[in-house]
């Protein structure tokens, strides 16, 4: 190539890249994998691991306690569909509030988005990769403790029938975990993508999730048992909406939301609206590769 380049002033004779160009799909895959690793602080310093690792350990604690209870002859201490509801809600708020800004705010802060989009990456690919990464990270946070809970329980149960009963109870729990992950990831990223200041976006995500959760609990509490107000109070917070949908889809364990009864469909609609709004906000945010 450089042989016929004589006389071309600007050809400095650097070696060209002749290998395969892996293209858009590979970029998205790589971005997803790196973002997923970043969500747990892998490949980063010890400080970046403190929050995700301690959050994961705290999340697993109830499942490990359960293993001891079952081994001593007790029955399973936590249901598969709600797990330990207060632990799961609070840990997931912290995890998403801290890690969603880690995935998107840093890129905004260091102004590298134009570099991403200088590659054969389409506008929508970046948010899709980030969403896939965070949703997978949330999935690990939610499902692994469930699997530990399951393993701890079947380790002490006898006979194929008992194991099959546990397996059948586990599967809906895993599906609910998937619902949680998708919802929390899309809302968390949508809020986090609005600013490059991590402190600011972490605060915004935490305020949105925690404030609305506390508000829902107060509304449910003051409305009185069995009233329509108590059944609809959970609509104000994504976490209680998730619990309402769980009950609507047939989850029987008591959760933070009282039995939704005939209002279940309202929770279903609300969940779709929340996820839709989050996805739309995220897509709109990255339609233009703004710098800040």
């Amino acid at each position: 190539m450089s042989a016929d380049a004589t006389g071309v002033i600007h050809d400095l004779g650097y070696q060209r890249y002749d290998g395969d160009r892996l293209g858009r799909a590979q970029i998205v895959r790589t971005l997803t994998v790196y973002s997923l690793r970043a969500a747990f602080g892998l490949g980063r310093g010890a400080k970046a691991k403190i929050v995700p690792v301690s959050a994961f350990a705290l999340m697993c604690a109830p499942a490990i306690i359960n293993a001891f209870i079952v081994a001593r002859g007790g029955t399973r201490a936590f249901p598969y569909d709600t797990y330990s509801a207060p632990v799961r809600m609070i840990i997931m708020i912290i995890f998403v509030a801290v890690q969603a800004p880690e995935l998107v705010s840093r890129d905004l802060r260091s102004r590298v988005l134009p570099l991403y989009f200088a590659r054969p990456l389409r506008r929508g690919d970046y948010p899709v990769a980030k969403f896939t990464a965070l949703a997978t990270a949330c999935l690990i946070m939610v499902e692994v403790p469930l699997l530990v809970l399951y393993a701890g329980t079947i380790a002490s149960s006898h006979g194929g029938g008992a194991v099959w009963a546990q397996t059948r109870a586990l599967l809906p729990g895993l599906a609910i975990g998937l619902m949680w992950s998708v919802t929390l990831a899309v809302i968390g990223l949508a809020i986090a993508s609005f600013s490059g200041r991590r402190a600011y976006t972490t605060g915004a995500v935490a305020i949105y999730f925690f404030l609305s959760l506390a508000l829902a609990e107060v509304l449910i509490g003051v409305a009185g048992d069995g009233t329509a107000g108590a059944r609809l109070g959970g609509l104000v917070s994504p976490l209680t909406v998730l619990d309402g949908v769980r009950q609507w889809l047939g989850g029987t364990s008591p959760g933070p939301v009282p039995a939704v009864g005939s209002y279940g469909a309202a929770y279903g609609v609300m969940l779709l609206a929340l996820v839709g709004a989050g996805a739309a906000a995220l897509a709109a945010r990255y339609r233009k590769a703004g710098l800040a």
Binding site: K47, I50, A199, V222
Partner: protein, 242 residues
């Protein structure tokens, strides 16, 4: 030695509340006041509802979260940006820097959490009742203790906000309400005891008595500020490895 520096105060105030950042702090108090007004109009079944919305929501959630975000950002933002170097290079004593930032953070928390708590209390209880005034007094005290803690945390670590979230959500939110022993080390319960001394409302459920909370609250505040001053005195700027 002066404890307050007007220039540092002005810079801090502008950085903490400038532009759209102030919106983030304005939303929670507006929700608190709005929901209190809505509940008053709708006459909920539970007669103890003012204590629940003002206590469980305003006092236990809005106050600590506002204090957390303001308290960790007054100094934390400067450390993250690296502009703290310029501030430390001036002849302003480190103690003055900490105390000034603490005063600003506390004042801002009072404006964005304690005053709305009073307004919501006036709306919810229909006047200057014991509950409304008591919670206002408690929130003022809570703003002081929380901000001392969070300013200290932001000097000690670069991940102050994340660790503060663990503290507010897990320690104050879960442990202090289920484990009795944790209450003695809970800023929320100190403030609640103070509020209850005025309000005398059993629905507030304070976990520690008044004397303990005043003494412990003062100790925690002074200790946190002293540690913050010491930490800033030996402050060295490190690159963020994370």
């Amino acid at each position: 030695m002066p404890v307050y520096n007007r220039t540092v105060a002005a810079i801090t105030l502008r950085a903490a509340l400038g532009r759209k950042r102030a919106l983030l702090f304005a939303v929670p108090p507006l929700i608190l006041i709005g929901v209190s007004a809505l509940l008053r109009l709708s006459h909920p079944a539970d007669p103890a509802w003012p204590a629940r919305i003002l206590g469980d929501f305003g006092f236990s959630v809005v106050l600590p979260l506002t204090a957390l975000i303001i308290g960790t950002s007054v100094l934390g933002a400067e450390i993250e940006d690296g502009t703290i170097v310029q501030l430390l290079a001036t002849p302003v004593p480190r103690r003055t820097i900490i105390l000034t930032k603490f005063v600003i953070a506390t004042a801002a928390t009072m404006v964005f959490a304690a005053v709305p708590e009073l307004v919501a209390g006036l709306i919810a209880t229909g006047g200057a009742t014991r509950l409304a005034v008591g919670l206002f007094v408690g929130a003022l005290a809570g703003a002081v203790i929380y901000n001392a803690l969070f300013v200290c945390l932001s000097v000690a670590t670069t991940r102050a906000l994340a660790l503060g979230l663990f503290y507010v959500l897990l320690w104050e939110g879960v442990l202090a309400n289920f484990v009795g022993g944790a209450r003695i080390l809970s800023a929320g319960h100190y403030a609640l005891a103070l509020a209850n001394a005025v309000a005398r409302d059993p629905a507030l459920k304070p976990g520690v008595n008044l004397t303990t909370s005043v003494v412990m609250g003062a100790i925690v505040t002074v200790l946190a500020l002293a540690v913050a001053v010491r930490k800033l005195a030996s402050f060295s700027l490190r690159g963020d490895a994370a």
